[in-house]
Symmetry: C2
Subunit: 332 residues, 2 copies
């Protein structure tokens, strides 16, 4: 935020922008609201200073856009969750704030399948949004309860997006037309960030509501509708409500499983999340799009990664941290 | 090129597009003409199949835009020049061909310093080009001799660029105005790719002219003018002409040192290239922006990389290829 006054910004823009740090973003290769337009944190990191397990200080990378001298240690350390070394300094690539006034839009859908198909149509279309988020009815309602804005709760879901640049209005128009062609029942366009706020408030609102047992799986955008259908089936199968928000434009979902605040309920909810992870991976996706594996999901790794991949990752870890002193039992 | 008929393209677009392969692009993390707009090859690779030194077959990555499950082996293998494993299959991210008719422009400069300053102004400006290349007078003349196009040879250099999308004409106009403000003496705008062809023909023309002893150093764009001045000083100091083309928009230069076709002359020219590499690194840059270290530049690695970085890269290599059977003596 400190660079905004210089007309620049740090592109990834995680939903947790109010509380997250650049260091944390880099350690987890965080994603966020603007990744469809600008890529993930790794794409914005040019160079790092890292302290290895044995105390050696490394300077990786260069200040250039292109750099292929040797192995790309910078990309290896970004997202390694502290397992290979401790990042003590970073050179990041900022981008100029786009000119003009951004437009935000909100399109309501009566069924989630149509919303998924609208996302695919938008992403494959000519007019590209800067932000494209999805909130299901339950998460919209939860936000409205905690931070009332007067926005109507949809029957199934809303798509919330932003367009930027001189053509922001025209692009927003093209995208909302696509939404209507795919079954949007109500469309609103505004000249400020208000509509995005609801999305940013989803996490605090869900947290305030009590227990959150959530994950951040990702699927290819073309599989979003299948993913939504699969989650509905899992909710029914487990007899447990599953609500979600999504960085829809890049196929990254944050499902939350309802559960009472007891260890047994937590455990049961975690099993539902494991099933959601299996579903995402079966659709060509990932267990974690932007938050990392950490300790909580460590047991899920074999769902996505073969033994050969796990062994290879651990041999890299072993080479850099032979005594396993850096965040053991996490990430890999 | 096979995907063009589906309205898609592989974003990096190396200058050698007529002869290079996607596999080679990935092995070296190749750059190209459109990296200022779309990033480098690594940014376009989602997943790989790799055969390790011991015959193990790995599937890295996922088909999603975001994926932070474990270490990023995909990025590690991209650009590793075959030192860690052999890439046997790749999943790449294609992009839709932009709508509208692209505009290409060409701006001539009487001094190289002004051309460098124009590049910095364009990159920092609001209107962003898809391509921004620089050719010095000598390389323009060489291309004209081999593939006459009737284009005037500039006193010092030309900037050649392309803009795309519905606003291509307007963006081109803003950029050429910036060029004129920074001393361009002649500006041409065309509605096709003709002006870019001269750039693509630079390598074959310089090769046809005889000996090429060249490198592909990179510097931060803001240092381009300093780099040009430094190269002029080195040419004078060594009493040897240095000509260059550049992916100016990302600060990636291809200097070529003139030399007779004898081993002694080659050797002398290589020493000039070493000095150019030192100059680039001293400006915060890199020995190689897009081609890799290979065998030829292997001796230059310590110019850019500290002993700690070299040791770390080699320990990763050692972990994955303990018997050093994969491309020994190259890249790292």
């Amino acid at each position: 935020r400190a660079v905004r006054e210089h007309g620049l910004f740090f592109p990834p823009d995680p939903a947790s922008v109010e509380i997250s740090t650049v260091g944390g973003n880099i350690a987890t290769n965080a994603g966020g609201l603007r990744c469809i337009a600008h890529g993930v944190t790794r794409d914005a990191v040019a160079a790092l200073e890292v302290v290895l397990a044995d105390g050696t200080v490394l300077d990786t990378g260069a200040r250039t856009r292109k750099n292929v001298a040797g192995l790309d240690l910078t990309s290896l350390f970004v997202g390694s969750e502290g397992t290979l070394g401790i990042i003590t300094s970073a050179t990041v690539r900022l981008k100029p704030v786009p000119p003009g006034t951004p437009r935000t839009f909100r399109a309501s859908f009566d069924d989630i399948q149509s919303a998924g198909e609208a996302v695919t149509a938008i992403v494959n279309g000519e007019a590209q949004p800067e932000v494209l988020e999805l909130m299901d009815a339950h998460s919209v309602q939860t936000v409205e309860e905690f931070y009332p804005s007067g926005l109507a709760v949809p029957k199934a879901a809303v798509l919330i997006g932003q367009t930027v640049g001189h053509a922001a209005e025209q692009i927003a128009h093209q995208i909302t037309q696509l939404c209507e062609q795919h079954g949007a029942v109500e469309v609103t366009v505004a000249q400020d960030d208000t509509l995005l706020e609801a999305r940013r408030l989803a996490n605090p609102a869900l947290t305030a509501r009590g227990l959150r047992v959530s994950c951040d799986v990702g699927v290819p955008v073309g599989e979003l509708a299948n993913m939504f259908r699969g989650i509905e089936a899992l909710a029914e199968q487990h007899g447990r409500a599953i609500t979600f928000v999504a960085h829809a434009g890049d196929g990254n979902l944050h499902p939350t499983v309802e559960a009472e605040d007891t260890p047994e309920e937590h455990e049961a909810a975690e099993r539902v999340l494991d099933d959601i992870g299996r579903l995402a991976v079966s659709l060509g996706g990932t267990l974690t799009g932007e938050h990392g594996i950490g300790a909580v999901k460590h047991h899920e790794l074999p769902i996505q990664l073969s033994q050969a991949v796990l062994d290879t990752q651990r041999s890299v870890k072993q080479a850099l941290d032979p005594h396993n002193i850096l965040t053991p039992g996490r990430a890999i």
